[in-house]
Amino acid sequence: MDKIIRINMAAEPAPEVKITDTKGYEGLGGRGLTSAIVFKEVPPTCHPLSSYNKLVIAPGLLSGTMAAMSGRISVGCKSPLTGGIKEANAGGQPSQMLARLGYAAIVIEGKPKGDDLYKVLINKDGVKVEKDNSLKMLGNYETVERMKKEFGEKISCISIGPAGEMRLAAASVACTDIELRPTRHAGRGGVGAVMGSKGVKVIVIDDEGTKMREPKDRERFRQANAKFIEGLRKHPVTGEALPAYGTNVLTNILNEAGGYPTYNFKEGRFLGAAKISGETEAALETERGGVATHGCHHGCVIRCSGIYHDKDGRYLTKQPEYETVWAHGGNCGIDDLDKIAMLDFLDDDTGLDTIEMGVTIGVAMEAGLLKFGDADGAIELIKEVKKGTPLGRIIGSGALVTGRVFGVEKVPVVKGQGLPAYDPRAVQGIGVTYATSPMGADHTAGYAVATNILKVGGFVDPLKPEGQIELSRNLQIATAAVDSTGMCLFIAFALLDQPETFEALIEMINAFYGLKLTADDVVNLGKNILTMERTFNRLAGFTKEHDRLPDFFKREPLPPHNVTFSVTDEELDQVFNW
């Protein structure tokens, strides 16, 4: 994995491909690599849809190896949604295949002059870029079907739907799963719009003729991987809750705690929560002949996903996960799992971020465009986006734009990005991360990684009042590091509680690359990534005033506990003081 594919879409008469080495970016993968390239090569003040922006797609350091859970792929650029640096990541098969072909990244540069659409084929023989206007405005599902017909079924695809082609700020980049369906999305920040601005509809990856990447020390790597898998399997979250119920297992508990944002963040409890919970969803999937425990890529041992069938037992979509079920469910007052699954399918097919769409529809409901609970109305709105009507383009531009167009005061965004499924008035520490992450409001920016094992910034006393500032900082550092490995972030739960599992992860990296990394090195990697991202944002015009939650979180008490967000601006400004 020592090569970078650079595709210049502005070249005449046709896009030009160059294969370069990784000089200047050695030892980086995933988010570390995407952010480093964007930081070094993209002018911070450029328009995100201009030829100056670059779309960087990078597998993780351990992708393409035998390491379990190593199938995440990072997509980075300057975001059209936030105006800052962005890394969004996804599961699925492309990460493993791209890494096995020896590529550390694909960098799509420039911008074609006309409105032609291109497909890219990457295989052992090289890289081909071909014009294919027959793919215009196709959904992700149909696009993948066409690629299967053309290139066979042993491929994986990275594609955009109509939302990306229309360069809408909520557009995602889709990656295919084990069944070759476009269900795994690098959703956040409008990365699909940047791919659309480059005129690239789909990247087809065919790894036929390649082998697993070989570690420097095979036996040491094998042992570390076995220990890592054992740690994941014995942990109650990764070995029990996630496989049985998926991430949607969170619905009931967040709702009971009064931290489940309902009716556009008006209330903290949703009466219909039990109807859309992970427990109910898993039971329904099993009853209808779907699958309640399923991996999104080969080598996944947690298997938190599933396959959702409709009432007639036919495939409808993959198992909608917690954030999706919340965004289209409780946040919009919808308690019908079949309608939520349909919204999930439409989002995937149109190429839209499910969180942004749910938050946006919540804002549209607040505006009176449709009523809370109107599931069919929500479905029609997503269809409007796919059709590219003026209303659809507004909705597809995200919550901030929709709020402005319809004159809504209460718009739950930070840096232009919709808030995920945890109300920061109830769980204030996550509000600190929402406010200060360079990515905009992002629930995965500061995950439950073992900060006290890493000893990031020293041991944190959780009982100190300032604990949540230090914890948010440490979690963001640790997460940035994990995002570079290609590892699914869900390994964090086992790392949190089991030092030996965390040690096994570092041992795997060391055995693979012949390194002697320590926990301190991992911390430094995380800090370096965040420093690059913060610097990029500062140069793009961001100030500390952008590290704030919308005002209403400080003023409007959240029922049932009637709490407001009470972390001060001064405290928020301390998060990145290291």
Binding site: E240, A426, P462, H561
Partner: protein, 212 residues
């Protein structure tokens, strides 16, 4: 349906079902919404967990990761007191930062301090009373059967709704049904119009197994 709001009502009917164990999961949805139990209240969470579920300290420590009392996260189960009308929710290990934050004695307790349970009562008299229990995820499978056997109190409308929804499973796995000690046909469970308000439901799985 406001289960908590009906707390003051007393049960009007007693329903006893004799079922095959395969049908257990049809009742699990009820525990997500919450069921009431009648027991000694005015005791701390640990005592009530042991009394109601017949579980050990080890089980509480090992399996019950998150405890919410009246919607707030309980860290000190020896100090928090369950009172008449309280709602107690129990969950196994949860994913995500917020899942970890919600754990009892979480290292991330500061993240959710605004919703951490603080016991304000120094003394609350022990007496027989009603409170609501909610069970989530793996704990439903592990704890609900004990409660179903001991008896749960719920609104008859809630029960009718479930019987209607699960009619097929009910007819397949129900061996015998009694209302107020009188045996009734299974169809009566759905169409019986005499019970209203709250009712006590007990389920005997073992007898059904012997029957079959």
């Amino acid at each position: 349906m406001n289960i908590q709001g009906d707390c003051a009502e007393r049960e009007t009917s007693k329903i006893k079902l004799y079922m095959k164990t395969e049908a257990r999961s049809m009742f699990f949805m009820l525990f997500q919404q919450g069921v009431q139990v009648k027991t000694s209240v005015g005791l701390n969470v640990r005592s009530i967990l042991k009394n109601v579920f017949d579980i050990t300290d080890e089980f509480i420590e090992r399996r019950i990761s998150t405890i919410l009392l009246d919607g707030k996260v309980v860290d000190d189960i020896d100090r928090a007191i369950i009172k008449e009308g309280s709602t107690l929710a129990l969950s196994g290990a949860m994913p995500g930062l917020v899942g970890a934050t919600m754990r009892t004695h979480s290292a991330y307790e500061s993240f959710r301090r605004a919703i951490t349970y603080q016991e304000k009562e120094n003394f609350y008299p022990e007496r027989i009373g009603l409170f609501t229990i909610k069970l989530f995820n793996v704990l439903t499978h592990e704890l609900a059967p004990t409660l179903l056997k001991k008896g749960i109190i719920l609104h008859t409308e809630q029960l009718k709704e479930m019987f209607l929804e699960k009619e097929r499973i009910l007819s397949k796995y129900l061996k015998k049904a009694c209302i107020d000690n009188n045996e009734v046909k299974p169809t009566m469970l759905i169409h019986y119009d005499r019970y209203k308000g709250m009712c006590l439901m007990e389920i005997d799985f073992s007898e059904a197994e012997n029957d079959s």
